[in-house]
């Protein structure tokens, strides 16, 4: 037994207090969760706008703090906090992105009828998932990674059920069973990793034996991250959960946990490179593995999406294909790759937010739940249809939208990595990614096809209001998509001199 030394304890406390300032935004987020918990005690029906407004205020304050933190890390570079978290520009960028996305999701869910009674609980779960995601992108310790992933997961399982229907209960059950098995396997991998490296910190290697077990553990860990990313072969839950959850929640699922999973995977790729995955020489094997998974995700996501009739299911499979692109960016193993990933993540978040906002609008205003129902929407709602067209073009990755630019950057980083290493798998990945962009045309443009070229059945529906607030918000997102096509350097310049530890 070690004696507790009062002096060193004081020193430790002092260290914790000085590091406290770096996680001030997270403290604010935690107090926001507590406030939302208290708000849940108020009668929900009357106070739902008040609760949402307070939570929005907290989110905006957190976003502002992240803005300051961004400038701070831009100047000082990477900062390690007690061996648990690591603060760097890339992480702060993603944290800011998550916070803004969550704020948009809160705004979007104001209209959800199922939330009238449970708005407090809903906001608590949403903020908890955000907190977990924020910790995920910063984590540099096995314990921290596990806890933050579970924080996102457990909140997500409960959020899936918030439609209060038969389907949403089933979706929640499928999500929790898949998720718990995936995280259990990941935990087993982590325990092996701990035993064979002697530390929970990343990049720590004391023992040099047990290479086989170590690579086995790494593969199990990779599985857990792929589950969060919804990439092949851990994608099975995605379509069911996306269909079952209320649309704003689906928007959240398709953006925040996915991109956080990407960030964790990037952090751990460096570790995987050190442990000689699959017992072969490090870099090539890990690259082949990631590139193969990327190709499979692209193919499976795109080919399954073609047959879908539910728009949310379609976007779920498209999300799996987008995971393929994210994996491709990771497989480049270069700074250019990371930069293109950050760009892709931002654009992906904007596109998906806009797409789900429009689906939500079509659902509550016109009762559209299947793709056939989009028939003749352009006559009823010309402006909304136009926005839908632009967003779908962006998701396909065609000019003149930033969806094209984002894909171009990923292709460029792949080509660059191929030029440097000459590994043929990268060329294959590039070819498959290009072919898949073409396949994506078939299903993304199915919705605008129904909207514009199929006649409407009945004329009884109400005309759209000239400019609803949702249309204004989506228009801002669409303007971003168009602007970043013509001026990608506005965003890229931010990443160029940024610090990464990935």
């Amino acid at each position: 037994m070690k004696h507790i030394d009062i002096e060193s304890l004081g020193l430790k406390l002092e260290r914790i207090l000085t590091y406290g300032q770096y996680i001030l935004p997270e403290f604010l987020l935690v107090s926001g969760i507590l406030v939302a918990l208290l708000l849940a005690l108020l009668p929900a029906e009357k106070n739902r706008y008040l609760s949402s407004a307070i939570v929005l205020l907290v989110l905006v304050a957190v976003a502002v703090l992240y803005g300051f933190q961004w400038v701070d890390t831009y100047r000082t570079g990477v900062k390690s906090l007690l061996g648990m978290l690591r603060l760097h520009t890339a992480a702060v960028t993603l944290k800011l992105l998550f916070t803004l996305t969550t704020a948009a999701v809160v705004l979007l869910s104001l209209r959800l009828s199922s939330l009238r009674q449970y708005v407090g609980e809903y906001l608590v779960l949403l903020l908890t998932a955000l907190l977990g995601a924020v910790l995920m992108v910063m984590s540099s310790n096995l314990l921290m990674t596990y806890l933050s992933i579970e924080m996102v997961s457990i909140a997500s399982y409960a959020l899936t059920g918030f439609a209060f229907t038969k389907k949403s209960a089933e979706g929640g059950l499928k999500y929790i069973l898949f998720g718990a098995v995936a995280s259990g396997l990941m935990l087993y991998g982590m325990s092996l990793h701990y035993g064979l490296t002697g530390s929970l910190e990343l990049g720590f290697r004391a023992v040099s034996e047990g290479e086989l077990l170590l690579s086995f553990g790494s593969i199990l860990m990779l599985g857990g991250f792929l589950f969060k990313l919804a990439a092949v072969p851990f994608h099975v839950w995605a379509p069911d959960v996306y269909e079952a959850a209320p649309t704003p929640v689906t928007a959240f699922f398709s953006i925040v946990p996915k991109i956080a999973g990407m960030a964790v995977l990037v952090t751990y790729t460096r570790i995987f490179l050190e442990v000689d995955m699959l017992l072969l020489s490090g870099q090539e094997t890990v690259r082949t593995l990631l590139a193969t998974l990327a190709i499979l995700s692209l193919l499976l996501g795109n080919f399954s999406a073609i047959w879908q009739s539910d728009p949310k299911r379609l976007l779920a499979y498209s999300g799996i294909a987008h995971s393929g692109f994210l994996l491709a960016g990771i497989a480049a193993f270069s700074h250019l790759g990371i930069k293109s990933l950050l760009f892709y993540a931002v654009i992906y978040a904007i596109m998906n937010l806009a797409a789900f906002a429009l689906l939500h609008w079509a659902e509550y205003r016109y009762g559209i739940r299947r793709i056939e129902d989009f028939k003749g929407l352009s006559q009823k709602a010309p402006f909304g249809s136009l926005l839908l067209l632009v967003v779908m073009v962006a998701l396909t990755g065609l000019p003149p939208t930033a969806g094209f630019t984002a894909k171009l950057f990923v292709f460029m980083s792949l080509w660059d990595a191929y030029g440097q290493t000459g590994e043929s798998i990268l060329l294959w990945l590039l070819v498959f990614a290009l072919v898949n962009t073409l396949i994506a045309l078939f299903y993304y443009l199915k919705i605008p096809y129904f909207v514009y070229f199929k006649p409407m059945k009945d004329n009884g529906q109400a005309q759209e209001k000239p400019l609803s607030s949702l249309h204004m918000a989506v228009m801002v997102l669409v303007l971003f998509l168009l602007m970043l096509f013509f001026k990608p350097e506005w965003l890229m310049d931010f990443f160029n001199n940024a610090s990464f530890v990935f």
Binding site: L142, L143, Y146, L147, E150, S153, I154, Y157, A158, G161, K166, K167, A169, E170, G171, G172, L173, K174, I176, L177, A180, V181, G184, L185, L187, Y188, M190, S191, L192, Y194, G195, G198, S199, L200, P239, D240, E243, A244, W307, Q308, S309, D310, R313
Partner: protein, 100 residues
């Protein structure tokens, strides 16, 4: 002192049993029990390895895992109750509303 290999073998056996239960069993609650076995397999590993670690990180990790497992089980059982009230069954083969 029991050699470390025994612990690792025990945890590997528990992991396999847990995975088998998850794959074979049809009842949602039994599947959850299998998941619990997987988590406990990792706990055994962590505690056994912590003996070779001057700090007690591994044991601390185990405490966190126990707490997380409890939280997860609570949410899972709540969802199972909900599913049961809709489907009148917790048999996973009968819960198939979502398809495509």
């Amino acid at each position: 002192m029991i050699p470390i290999e025994h612990f690792v073998l025990l945890s590997a056996a528990l992991l396999c049993i847990g995975l088998l239960i998850v794959i074979i069993k049809k009842n949602a609650i039994v599947v959850l029990m299998g998941i619990e076995l997987i988590l406990n397999a990792s706990n055994i590993n962590l505690v056994a390895f912590a003996r070779y670690d001057p700090s007690i990180q591994g044991q601390l990790f185990t405490l966190f895992v126990i707490i997380v497992a409890a939280a997860e089980a609570a949410v899972a059982l709540a969802i199972v109750v909900r599913v049961y009230s809709y489907f009148k069954s917790s048999d996973l083969d009968r819960i198939k509303e979502l398809k495509g």
